[in-house]
Subunit: 238 residues, 2 copies
DNA sequence: CGTCAGTTTGAGCGAGCTCAACGTGAGTGG
DNA sequence: CCACTCACGTTGAGCTCGCTCAAACTGACG
C-alpha cells in the first residue's frame, strides 16, 4: 500500500500528516512512540459503517485520519440528533467517558479511516505523561465549548446565520489542514445539516439557494465554492 | 458559626453534606484529606456576585455548596447565552480547562457558597490518585452529554416540552439532595429560563400559566409545586 | 410613597415548518 | 441501451408556534 495514501492502515503517529492536530505539541519522540504502541488502526470504513453504536460498551476514543464522521444521539422516540461532524485530525467518541456505554453513535459519512485509542490504556499513560493528561482535559473542554457555541446558535440565530456559521467553520477546519478554505466538498447530506442546525431539509435547501442568489456561494450539489468569504463571515456569529 | 449552616466556610470535605455528590465514591479517607487541603472555601457570595468573569485567567473549578450559580457566555454582540444552572453538589467552571482564560462567566443567583479547587493542583493530585482522574474525566463527559441533551431540546422540542424538561430536571436534582422533588423554589428568573431554553420571557410566562390551567403545576412567583408529576414527566423529553 | 425590576397578558406578525409536487443522478436489471 | 427505482435535493403554498410590541400588574426597597 502506498505509504502516502490517507487510508493507509500501517502509518505510525510519528509519520502521520495529522499528528500536529490530534497530538499535544509538547510530546517527546519517545512519548509519541509509547502512544503509538497503544493506538489501533482499523480497516477503512465505508459510507454508512458505524464506528460505534449507542449503548455499546465504551472502550475507546477515536481520531479521524481521513474521510468524515457524524456523531449523533437517538432519543427515546427514535428521533436522531446530530451532535457533530468530525474531520481529519479531530477526536471523537468522548461521550462515553465516565459512562459504562456510549451515549452517542458515530457513523462514517464517506470512505474514512480512524485510529482507535483504547481509553483505559490512554488513561494509564496519561498519569505518566502529564502533557498528555493536560491535552485530554483540553480536548474534552474544547468539546464542551463547541457544544455551547452550538447551543447559542440554536437558541439565538436565524437559519441563515446558522448555515453561514457552519460553512465558515468547515472552511476554517479545512484551512487548518492546509486545504482550500473556499472550495470544498461537504461530506454530509442536507438532511444531516438540517438535523445538526435544528432546521428542516427544505429550509437548508432554500438558504443555499438564497446564498447563491446573493453571490456568496457557488453550490453544485455537495461541492461548495465560497465566492464572498467576508460577507459570509459577517453573517456568521463569529 | 454554626457548623451545620450550609454557608459555613470552615467545613471540611469529609464532613460536607454534599460530598457524596461532588467527590468520587471510591476515595479513601486519607485521599479525601489530601483533596481537602487544596480546596479553598471563599466567603459567601451574594445575588449578582460573579464567581468568575469571561476572559479572566482560568485558575480553578468550583463546587456549589449552597445556593445556585448561573453559567453563561456573552457573544461578540453582547448577547448573553445561559449555558447551565448549577445547584449544590454540582461542579462548574470546566469551560476554562484547556484555555488560558475562562470562556464563560458564572454568577450567583442567590446567596451561595462555593468551594474553589485550584486546577493545577487538582491536575497534579489526579496523576497520583487515579480514581480522582477518572472522576474528573467523568464530570467533564457528563457536562458534554448535558450540553448535548440541551442541543437536542433546542433543536427538536416545543416550548412546553422544554419547560417540562427543565422542571423535571430540577426536581430530580433536588430529590438527589434529599429535598422535595415536587415543591421547590426556582432560583432563576423567567428571563434566565427563557434565555437558557431559547425562548422569550413572554413564552415562558405563558407556558407556566398554561401548565397551571392544565393542573400540572401550582405556580406562585418562583415557588413551584408539581401537582401532576407523571403528566409533566410525560411532556418532557426523557 | 414612588421607583424599578420582574412578571403577566393581549394582539398581530413572520420565520420556518408542513405538506405536496417535481427534478436529478446513481445504481440495477432487462 | 433504455427503463425503472430510490435516495436526495429543490421549489411552492399555506399555516402555526413563538416572537415582537405594548400595556398593565406585583412586590421589594429606598
Amino acid at each position: 500500500m502506498d505509504s502516502n495514501c490517507p487510508h493507509n492502515g500501517s502509518i505510525h503517529c510519528g509519520d502521520c500528516r495529522m499528528n500536529a492536530l490530534c497530538l499535544p505539541i509538547a510530546l517527546q519522540a519517545d512519548e509519541i512512540e509509547r502512544l503509538d504502541r497503544i493506538v489501533e488502526r482499523g480497516r477503512p470504513l465505508h459510507k454508512g459503517d458505524y464506528v460505534y453504536h449507542a449503548g455499546e460498551p465504551f472502550r475507546s476514543i477515536y481520531a479521524v485520519r481521513s474521510g468524515a464522521i457524524k456523531g449523533f444521539t437517538v432519543n427515546n422516540d427514535g428521533v436522531e440528533q446530530v451532535t457533530g461532524f468530525y474531520l481529519p485530525g479531530e477526536i471523537f467518541g468522548m461521550d462515553g467517558i465516565g459512562h459504562p456505554n456510549h451515549i452517542n453513535a458515530a457513523i462514517s459519512l464517506e470512505t474514512s479511516a480512524v485510529c482507535e485509542i483504547p481509553f483505559a490504556r490512554m488513561e494509564e499513560l496519561s498519569t505518566q505523561i502529564s502533557s498528555l493528561q493536560r491535552h485530554f482535559f483540553s480536548l474534552m473542554s474544547r468539546e464542551i465549548t463547541n457544544d455551547q457555541q452550538l447551543i447559542t446558535m440554536l437558541s439565538k440565530n436565524s437559519a441563515e446565520e446558522r448555515i453561514a456559521t457552519l460553512l465558515t467553520s468547515i472552511s476554517a477546519r479545512n484551512a487548518r489542514r492546509k486545504l482550500s478554505g473556499t472550495r470544498f466538498r461537504l461530506p454530509m447530506s442536507r438532511a444531516d445539516i438540517g438535523n445538526y442546525l435544528g432546521l428542516t431539509v427544505e429550509t437548508v435547501s432554500r438558504v443555499f439557494s438564497r446564498f447563491q442568489k446573493l453571490e456568496l456561494l457557488d453550490v453544485d450539489k455537495k461541492e461548495i465554492e465560497i465566492t464572498d468569504f467576508d460577507r459570509l463571515k459577517a453573517m456568521a456569529n463569529t
